[in-house]
């Protein structure tokens, strides 16, 4: 179900559910963020990296899985 305003995607009939979570910056803080990942690949402890994306005209950040290579 799409979130209510002020989320800018709420009025779109083609709403696609998106993942949200808290990403831990190793031992320092946990940051709330949209996640760019398939639902089935998400699990607690997955290594993530920071990525940029745009929602309408709004530049935003998200986290995506590192794949095999990465550091958070």
């Amino acid at each position: 179900m799409p979130p209510s305003p002020p989320f800018v995607g709420a009025e779109h009939s083609d709403f696609v559910p998106f993942p949200v979570g808290y990403v831990e910056l190793d031992g320092m803080i946990r940051v709330e963020s949209r996640l760019e990942a398939a639902e089935e690949e998400l699990r607690v402890g997955l290594r993530m990296k920071l990525v940029r994306f745009e929602l309408g005209d709004q530049p935003l950040f998200a986290f995506a899985p590192c794949g095999s290579e990465g550091e958070a």
Partner: protein
């Protein structure tokens, strides 16, 4: 237990649900009239009042309906803990010796659907809202997702929480949702914020509840069977706690304000969690009920699986929880919600809860509310 100082001698409720042509203030005033009737007193006997709503107006203006008798009437605005905070204030007003008899009232009327929040009202940047992060159900989903991961709980237990809520709601003429839903139907309802499906979440709604409180030694002169307010505990969050609309949280989370509020209330009353016969905890969604039972010391983390599978939280179980259907079956008119819980415990302790009466003559009850941004209010009540 020490001699009680404060008694609840009247209760009134305006049914929870949708009431198209009735304002929140009108519902509040009607709940007060019903509580006065229950206590066998009149508005002119009342020495003070505390009341509040989140979205439905100023409580003190209901004197236009009840009668401008000149009493001090204090408005309380404390989010989901509004009712609890009003009751705490009334408790202290009597305990201090300032007054002998007062009214506590909570009411609300929210539009359909989720709350529409403005990031600016929460000291948050506007992009936090446009990005789709300012959504309460997502926060609830994330919180219970992690709790279930850490303590080996499956979605079936969440569905059993909702199933119980609707079973109790069916037996409560003042509840909003009175149709039973099986755990399977709850699991199959539309997904809102994984793992929470539509029927695991309460909806903002409408309703009102009121209490008449009085000095305990005077309670015997009134009509109603008194129930004693043994203690109240209120706490707010500490640094780094995991609250709704938190762009970031700490790595080592401090205990929730619930832990301190519940412990304070039970210590003040001189009882432990094992002494309680009937319990109401904040169940904004099914996961909140599971977490709050553990935070209040009523079970261990993870023990909820067995508690719900075995029916021990049902009306005839060892630990009846949210016997009136809780927020899930009643909806959440924010200002009224905490007082609804107290209303229910009073009914149960009086033995007047009819079809949903907990058997065996319950003697000790407990209520817990919790709300954004990290405030909890708990009470212990006894016959």
């Amino acid at each position: 237990m020490a001699e009680p100082t404060v008694a609840i001698v009247g209760i009134g409720i305006y049914p929870f649900g949708r009431h198209q042509d009735v304002s929140g203030l009108e519902m509040g005033a009607e709940a007060v009239r019903r509580a006065l009737l229950d206590a066998g007193i009149e508005w002119r006997d009342v020495q003070f009042a505390f009341g509040g709503s989140s979205d439905a107006g100023k409580a003190d203006t209901m004197v236009a309906e009840l009668g401008p008798t000149g009493i001090p009437f204090t408005n309380v605005s404390n989010g989901c803990a509004t009712g609890g905070s009003a009751l705490v204030s009334a408790y202290h007003a009597i305990e201090s010796g300032a007054y002998d008899l007062g009214v506590v009232v909570g009411f609300d009327k929210h539009p359909r659907g989720a709350f529409m929040e403005r990031p600016e009202d929460w000291s948050l940047p506007s992009w936090y809202g446009t990005a789709g992060l300012m959504v309460t159900t997502q926060f609830f989903g994330i919180k219970i997702q992690r709790y279930m991961h850490d303590h080996g709980i499956e979605p079936l237990t969440l569905a059993q929480v909702a199933e119980k809520a609707f079973l109790n709601g069916e037996l409560n003429p003042n509840a909003w949702r009175r149709t039973p839903w099986s755990a399977e139907q709850v699991l199959d309802s539309p997904m809102v914020s994984d793992p929470l499906t539509q029927y695991m979440l309460c909806s903002p709604g409408e309703g009102a509840a009121a209490l008449i409180v009085c000095r305990a030694e005077r309670a015997g002169r009134l009509d109603a069977k008194p129930v004693f307010l043994r203690s109240v505990g209120v706490r707010t969050r500490t640094s780094g706690s995991f609250e709704v609309y938190s762009p970031s949280i700490g790595v080592d989370l401090p205990p929730s304000p619930t832990v301190d509020a519940a412990r304070t209330a039970m210590e003040m009353a001189g009882i432990g969690p094992e002494d309680l016969d009937v319990v109401q905890v904040q169940d904004t969604e099914a996961g909140a009920e599971l977490i709050h039972l553990a935070e209040c010391g009523l079970c261990e983390d993870g023990e909820q699986v067995e508690l719900y599978a075995s029916g021990r939280t049902g009306l005839t179980g060892r630990l009846p929880v949210n016997t009136d259907g809780g927020c899930i079956a009643n909806g959440e008119p924010i200002g009224a919600s905490g007082l609804r819980q107290v209303h229910e415990v009073v009914l149960q302790l009086r033995g007047d809860a009819a079809e949903r009466q907990v058997p065996g003559g319950p003697r000790l009850g407990f209520t817990h509310v919790y709300g954004a941004p990290g405030v909890s209010a708990c009470t212990v009540l006894s016959r």
